[in-house]
């Protein structure tokens, strides 16, 4: 029974599967190439002085990016301090009052906020903070990054808390625990791993953001730890050096890229670890 039609259907089936697998594998090629280049170029430029020195003028060797590393930590850390509490509270509100009108509009606002292009966030913070403070500052950079983290953290908190079963809330309330303590001591701890990994993922997402820093934190060739002054950061350094015409600076940019990628990967791995280890069985 060698029906040619059935044979053709089988061939089509196999061809399509082949195409899917081929395209899928091809889709991973850019990633492999990017990682390969960054590892190869980056490792050759990373050494102790690269991590501890300040940038040097063109032509002098031995320049480093210590100011950018410190700057990134300060800017992103400050952003996290602003965004995490607000985002978590907003997420709690969205979960607890999910049927209220305010929650619906807040949900909508968060969706809009999440979609605002990063460069537009930069403009908004420029108008709000840079103009008010009278100049570029690390703080304005943090504000821009915080504005980008906020919707993400609110969403992950909301999604996590949605999974906390209602019967835990009832158990606590029935024991005579006030509502606010029930939320803070029962519901939030039950979703803590999700909230925490959401917060870290939020940090990982903004730590490589460059566009919102262009006209806020601005960059600074010197070491600065003052929030009210312009500050350097890894993505800014990569952008400035990568688009410069000097070979030395390109090398520094590869090194900075490697450090940035390593930080992002580490943060992503920490979230995966938290999610798998601390998962609470209800």
């Amino acid at each position: 029974m060698a029906d040619p039609q059935i044979k053709w259907r089988k061939i089509k089936n196999d061809l399509f599967k082949g195409l899917v697998v081929f395209l899928s594998l091809l889709a991973t090629l850019p990633l492999l190439l990017i990682l390969f280049y960054i590892l190869r170029q980056g490792f050759s430029s990373i050494n102790w002085s690269f991590l501890t020195n300040l940038p040097k003028p063109v032509g002098e060797s031995g320049g480093g990016i210590s100011n950018a590393i410190v700057g990134t930590l300060i800017i992103v850390g400050t952003a996290a301090v602003m965004a995490i509490p607000l985002g978590v509270l907003a997420g709690i509100y969205l979960n607890e009052q999910r049927n209220s009108k305010v929650a619906r509009y807040c949900d909508l606002a968060i969706d809009v906020l999440q979609g605002i292009p990063s460069i537009v966030i930069g403009i908004i913070i420029y108008e709000w903070v840079v103009r008010t403070m009278g100049g570029f500052s690390a703080f304005s950079g943090s504000a821009a990054l915080a504005l980008m983290m906020l919707p993400f953290i609110a969403k992950t908190t909301q999604e996590t808390l949605k999974l906390v079963p209602n019967h835990l809330k009832e158990a606590s309330l029935a024991l005579g625990v006030p509502y606010y303590k029930t939320v803070l001591k029962v519901i939030v701890p039950a979703g803590l791993s999700g909230i925490l990994s959401g917060a870290i993922l939020g940090i990982a997402r903004v730590i490589g953001e460059t566009a919102p820093l262009l006209f806020t934190a601005f960059g600074n060739p010197f070491m600065s730890t003052e929030l009210s002054k312009p500050m350097s950061s890894l993505p800014l350094v990569i952008f400035n050096y990568a688009t410069s015409p000097y070979e030395d600076w390109h090398q520094l940019a590869w090194g900075a890229s490697l450090i940035l990628i390593l930080i992002v990967l580490t943060l992503n791995m920490i979230t995966k670890f938290i999610e798998s280890r601390w998962k609470i069985q209800f």
Binding site: R9, K10, N13, L15, K17, V20, F22, L23, S24, A27, T28, P30, L31, L33, I34, L86, L89, A90, Y93, Q97, V102, A103, C106, L108, I110, D111, V112, L113, G115, I116, P117, S118, I119, V120, G122, I123, I124, E127, L147, P178, Y179, Y180, G208, E209, T210, A211, F215, P235, I238, F239, A242, T243, H250, A253, S257, L260, I261, V264, L265, N268
Partner: protein
């Protein structure tokens, strides 16, 4: 402790009620302030672009000349650049995204291979935009230049095409994750019914899965488009930054996001900087609409 609390302990009850109220109000205030924040962001962009809206009117959208020195602000080259790069990126990314979504959501739902592929796609989303741009400058551009020489066109390297290629890699993870979700949401009894009738997998995918998830795939592509429209750094580094209407897909151009990135800090004069803010306002509105429509479709799918 319980013995000491009488049922009518008024002070204690009042203290508890006050704290309950305080907590509820705090949460409410946070939610309200998020709403206000977003409205304020929109209003700020609107107010700050008024000088440009007044000076340029509708010619802002169809004007082909962007010349800050003569005070001519026509944003058409950037609108065209953004639309061209974004749609080209979608065109490149869509087949790959659907293939990976089928790989993960239908062919290999479990196992080492799919886990590895999934992690790699996640990684693709984690790489910062500026690194894509950097890599594009030093690895992709030389390749494109060779291609251009082979095709006998001016070998700029940078241009709409290069930006689109990088953009397609960057938006792929978003399109994939959404397409995979909708493919997996598909009820298995429908598929099983088709298999029971003797359909091959390809036939099931084409005749059962695709029609069923089409609107979801559309939403996924729409949301990926939302990402592409606003993407800044990588595009800025690769698009060529030429304020002219591109005459081919290999020509250098400029996008809405990249012109803001390049010129915002240098903009002198009220109308010039307002014109850049107006571009930001356009981006804000267009991306917000695209996102809300896309999310509405996904929500609708999840409930049916």
């Amino acid at each position: 402790m319980n013995e000491t609390l009488k049922l009518t302990d008024a002070n204690w009850s009042k203290a508890i009620s006050r704290k309950e109220k305080g907590f509820t109000i705090t949460l409410w205030l946070v939610a309200i302030s998020v709403i206000i924040l977003v409205m304020a962001a929109f209003l700020t962009l609107l107010v700050q672009s008024i000088p440009s809206i007044k000076a340029n009117g509708f010619s802002f959208i169809y004007g082909r000349m962007w010349n800050p020195i003569t005070g001519e602000f026509g944003a058409l080259p950037f609108l065209a650049g953004t639309l061209l790069t974004s749609f080209l990126a979608l065109l490149i990314a869509t087949p790959f995204s659907i293939a990976v979504a089928l790989f993960l959501g239908e062919y290999y739902k479990k196992g080492m291979m799919s886990q590895l592929l999934k992690n790699m796609i996640d990684l693709l989303a984690a790489i910062p935009s500026v690194i894509y741009g950097f890599w594009g400058l030093f690895v992709l551009i030389p390749i494109v230049r060779k291609l251009q020489i082979a095709l006998d066109i001016p070998p700029y390297g940078v241009g709409i095409f290069s930006a689109s290629v990088i953009l397609s890699i960057m938006i792929m993870p978003y399109a994939i994750s959404l397409s995979r979700q909708v493919i997996q949401m598909m009820p298995s009894d429908l598929k099983e019914a088709a298999y029971a009738l003797g359909a091959t997998r390809f036939e099931v995918i084409r005749k059962v899965i695709f029609p069923h998830v089409l609107s979801g795939l559309f939403a996924g592509i729409l949301l990926a488009l939302g990402r592409a429209l606003g993407e800044t750094m990588a595009v800025t580094m690769l698009v060529g930054n030429t304020n002219a209407l591109p005459d081919s897909i290999f020509a250098p151009g400029n996008t809405m996001a990249s012109v803001i990135a390049n010129e915002f800090t240098e903009a002198t004069g009220a109308v010039y900087s307002a014109a850049l803010v107006e571009i930001g306002l356009l981006l804000f509105v267009v991306v917000a609409i695209i996102n809300l429509v896309g999310k509405r479709i996904i929500k609708h799918l999840a409930y049916t």
